[in-house]
Symmetry: C2
Subunit: 257 residues, 2 copies
């Protein structure tokens, strides 16, 4: 199953992605992919070692997409690169007997070097071509906002989860994501409400999501442990007794069922 | 003076941009620009009417950049479009006797239509060519993260403000922004700490920012009024007695001095 985690910037996509990945890897093989050029999925898992991003594999990108990352737009992308051998060469193993692998799309290394479009094309092709076994999960931590839906980076996912928080801005983003996801044929959408301080906020968000015609599959409370784990540089999974972790475990059960 | 507001998604760029714009427009002419394709500067100012975004001006973009938004990358951008007449035709007036104008770069209207690169080029050229009088300010609300620094959208600004919150993720983003902003020659960088709940969090963020060699020009407390104004769809400037508003007013004074 391929799952993309989307939403407005700062709603908690990376925390949800990383924690879901840790929880699912207790029972399944999980392939977590950071698709945000402002990447922090690795650090939110407590990984500090270097990972070769897709965008750094210049020769590979050139061979398989026809363009260099950061090159002029003058080149035409070939849209169906062979990617069958990519995962092993680009990923690192993490915890749980190698059940969790992490891959990163890549970042901007030099101001003015260009956009992340070429790396997005390779990631899109990777997602499209990867055939998963029944006990394998991909979790894509998408970049903030909606540009990735213009690029169709996540077009091949089975489920897109939109994270919202109590407030109109992230609801507006959810509405845009719903419309754009429908354009590119995402088969299933669901919402998770994050950073809920009280019942009034939860009701507000739930009502707004219903008005959009979307389903809520879980709600995560505002939790000091999330801020603490971010300040310490530890994964939230280090605090399995925290309210936020327990809520995400429930969401994992719903996804699996 | 041209000011860009940057930072990780969700740190409060739009709240700071919109509130600063309101405050400065009490004394100066302000041109607020939403440079985020997942745009919500207008709604955070309480504006619901339609604004023609740059990205929608297809003929204009084609004439002035040589490429259509969403077109193939095969066309070559001409990098110095004439933009002297753009602002009036694309902006709307807001409050305070027309002292505050709002312009939006544009969004993704259809999933799969492409990236926002062509609109970014026009905005970059606009920023570079706009000559401001002494009593005029531009406030650019940038997209989340760092891709805009690859595109150099904000290369012509005089000051780039990086918003951080207490946590390593937004500090990591600040470190990336500092490096990339230096690459493209941004003359002045400063940090604002947002969503501060207590002294421990403020000290944590201040220390981390100092380690990056950056200056802190203000700190904004976590404030229920910010969440409330977002849930109501009102600008924070509607609550001038709120702690967050007062902190931003102090930041405005520091910018002006």
């Amino acid at each position: 199953m391929k799952i993309a985690i989307t939403g407005k910037g700062g709603v908690g996509k990376t925390t949800l992605s990383g924690t879901l990945a840790c929880i699912l890897s207790q029972r399944y093989k999980v392939f977590a992919i950071d698709a945000d050029p402002d990447m922090n999925l690795a650090s939110s898992l407590g990984i500090t070692g270097p990972i070769t991003p897709i965008s750094k594999m210049k020769d590979l990108i050139k061979e398989r997409t026809g363009a260099e990352s950061g090159s002029s737009f003058g080149e035409v992308f070939k849209m169906n690169p062979k990617i069958s051998d990519l995962p092993e060469s680009l990923s690192i193993n993490y915890g749980n007997e190698g059940n969790l692998k992490l891959l990163v799309m890549g970042t901007i290394d030099k101001g003015g070097e260009g956009c992340i479009c070429p790396a997005s094309v390779l990631l899109k092709a990777l997602m499209r071509n990867l055939i998963l076994k029944k006990d394998e999960y991909i979790i894509l931590d998408m970049e903030a906002g909606i540009e990735h839906l213009g690029r169709k980076t996540a077009e091949a996912v089975d489920l897109m989860i939109i994270v919202v928080e109590p407030g109109l801005k992230s609801i507006e983003t959810a509405a845009r994501i719903k419309k754009l996801a429908s354009d590119i044929g995402i088969p299933k959408l669901a919402c998770v409400i994050n950073k809920v301080s009280n019942e009034k906020e939860e009701n507000f968000a739930t009502q707004k999501i219903k008005e959009l015609g979307l389903e809520v599959i879980g709600s995560i409370p505002r939790d000091e442990e999330v801020i603490r784990s971010d300040m310490e540089g530890h994964p939230l999974a280090k605090y399995p007794d925290s309210a936020a972790f327990k809520s995400i475990a429930k969401i994992a059960d719903i996804i699996l069922s």
